[in-house]
Subunit: 361 residues, 2 copies
């Protein structure tokens, strides 16, 4: 059979598939509309976005996937379909730390799809405030290992907010050396955020040991300088390269190739258990010997796995330190209930920041 | 029946639909891989991206659509699915006039989906050059009614290039008044590209008649100035507002609400007829009385509908003017063949810039 015939046959098959796909997506949108109507009929302020439900859908997608499309591609397609169906009921407004083109925006797209409305803000505090004021439905803030800084502002935001963490987003972060030079030898200075400089420490030591490194506020600011000053380079991501039209001199120069930034989704909802959850807690303890040990013991005793602990000086004067603790499981799980009951004897403050589905990919 | 029961039933139905959707998308990707293998077996340099085929798929999608999802949403979903299937065979590299966040990038996403690789360049000339050098597979350049300027560079590019126009993209353009002021009264100056100022002429005259208007190179530049200078505003799009974190003081202030920019897709391919095509021609005529009339007569005589004509001074000295002509139909259509045969008697230059499917939405 000739290629042309073959091609015609395959295209006819693809047409049939497309018709079926479209029918099914249309049926799906119809069902979503039914759900909305049922909710409006029975609730005064219905909530349409259900993270626990989205994560279930995506976990099913991954469980079923046998290729050739990657899990990333398929979950992206289904995120978009869900995002579109949701927008029929209520287009979501998502606040995040701008400007556009940052990793935070990429995280918003990854989690909420392109049908959501973006609200880029100038500070992390504003993200908290806009979600608290319900000007935005949800907020996305970086929590750890951000290349843009901001982790501390997020942790400080958690201390005072009434919002709940209702999701997490993990985003792989790649750093590139960006400059508008013809030869690497022309680079006299490298700008970047101090975290990014640190994350590319080994690469810089072995490739550009003599070049001055200067820490600036953000990688976007570094790229802006590399754009304006001759003989300078920036370490930043693809988006900064695009925005400031800098050439990628060396790509993926981060020392740890699994470099990832974790974001929290802020909202007003408490999310029910999904069978694959994490819980974030804020704990504080008086400044006395053995206090931290007392804090950790109940988790270990109840076999609750702690994935992260981070301390921050308290600004409220009463407690010397507060601790941000992430554990595996949901606040309703028996081991966690037990651990928190014991913990209540030793600590002055236990604040449940949220229980939410683990990041999908 | 309670909402909860109802909801559980509907969700089970959605799960079934999702499983089917995923199966079908996976089958589609499998077929796309088969096509690729067949092509590799028979061609030395197979071309995987087929605009005439994509447009067929999308026209079918629109023809079948009875709601509730909009044609825009459904074509976006299918663009992404095609983009993902294509990326299994060959991830496309698309050059465009940067920086990222411009309307040109929005046009790239609209036409090629998010699986394509973006190459933002600093000038329209570079876009032509990178596609000619095959560093990029396709290029996207603004042709008319752009808010960013650049039309003339595109037309000049067409004169010398060996590339073909193999698609068009239409993008609705909305202008907003952007500023970081508390009250409109604080605005003393408004920056924007002269085309955008012109497009918002009536609105400005009725709302801010006393405020000075200053034309700058691009709307992005205008937004940058509004960000840096107190008491100034910019007229620009949503993306500029996001990037420079400016407040939208008044939205959609363009006088014509159907304001649209048209982009051309540049490539190496000649696209076969699809039944809904346009043809772009470059014609020239010696500077003598009645020359333009002679140029137009053969089209009218053969009932070829002309959608646009634009003249540019020739830089080659021989001809005073060159004319860019867009007509409805494909270069292989009999009326166009006849018109061009007649035209050849009167004009020194007929260059076929391309025949391509009309923009979908």
């Amino acid at each position: 059979m000739s290629t042309t015939n073959n091609l015609a046959t395959v295209r006819a098959q693809i047409d049939e598939l497309d018709e079926k796909i479209q029918n099914l997506i249309t049926q799906r949108a119809g069902l979503a509309t039914e759900v909305a109507q049922a909710k409006y009929a029975q609730e005064t302020k219905p909530v349409f976005y259900r993270p626990e439900r989205e994560v279930e859908v995506l976990r099913n997608v991954i469980a079923r996937n046998k290729g050739p499309l990657s899990n990333e591609t398929l979950t992206r397609i289904f995120r978009e379909i869900m995002s579109d169906c949701l927008a029929l009921q209520q287009p979501l407004k998502i606040a995040f730390l701008g400007p556009a083109g940052t990793y935070s925006q990429a995280a918003v797209y990854k989690h909420f799809g392109h049908a959501a409305q973006n609200i880029p803000l100038q500070t992390i505090e504003e993200v908290f405030r806009e979600v608290e004021a319900q000007t935005a439905n949800y907020g996305v803030v970086p929590v750890e290992n951000s290349t843009e800084g901001g982790v501390n502002q997020t942790l400080d935001g958690f201390i005072n907010t009434s919002l709940k963490i209702c999701g997490e987003i993990e985003l792989p972060i790649h750093h590139h050396l960006l400059a508008n030079v013809d030869k690497v030898e022309q680079i006299q200075r490298i700008y970047s955020h101090q975290q990014s400089l640190a994350q590319c420490h080994h690469w810089l030591n072995s490739h550009l040991p003599q070049v001055e490194r200067i820490a600036v506020n953000s990688n976007a600011e570094a790229a802006r300088r590399a754009f304006n000053e001759a003989g300078t380079a920036a370490i930043a991501g693809q988006m900064a390269a695009d925005i400031y039209q800098l050439r990628i001199i060396a790509s993926r120069i981060e020392d740890n190739i699994n470099n990832t930034t974790r974001f929290a989704v802020l909202g007003q909802q408490e999310i029910p258990p999904t069978g694959g959850d994490k819980t974030s807690l804020l704990l504080s303890t008086p400044n006395q010997p053995g206090a931290l040990y007392d804090l950790l013991e109940p988790f270990a005793h109840n076999q609750v796995n702690m994935t992260r602990i981070e301390s921050r000086p308290s600004r409220q004067g009463i407690w010397e330190y507060v601790f941000f603790v992430d554990i595996e499981g949901h606040i309703q799980d028996a081991p966690i209930v037990n651990a928190l009951q014991t913990l209540a004897k030793y600590t002055g403050l236990i604040k449940h920041l949220g229980s939410y589905p683990r990041a999908i990919l």
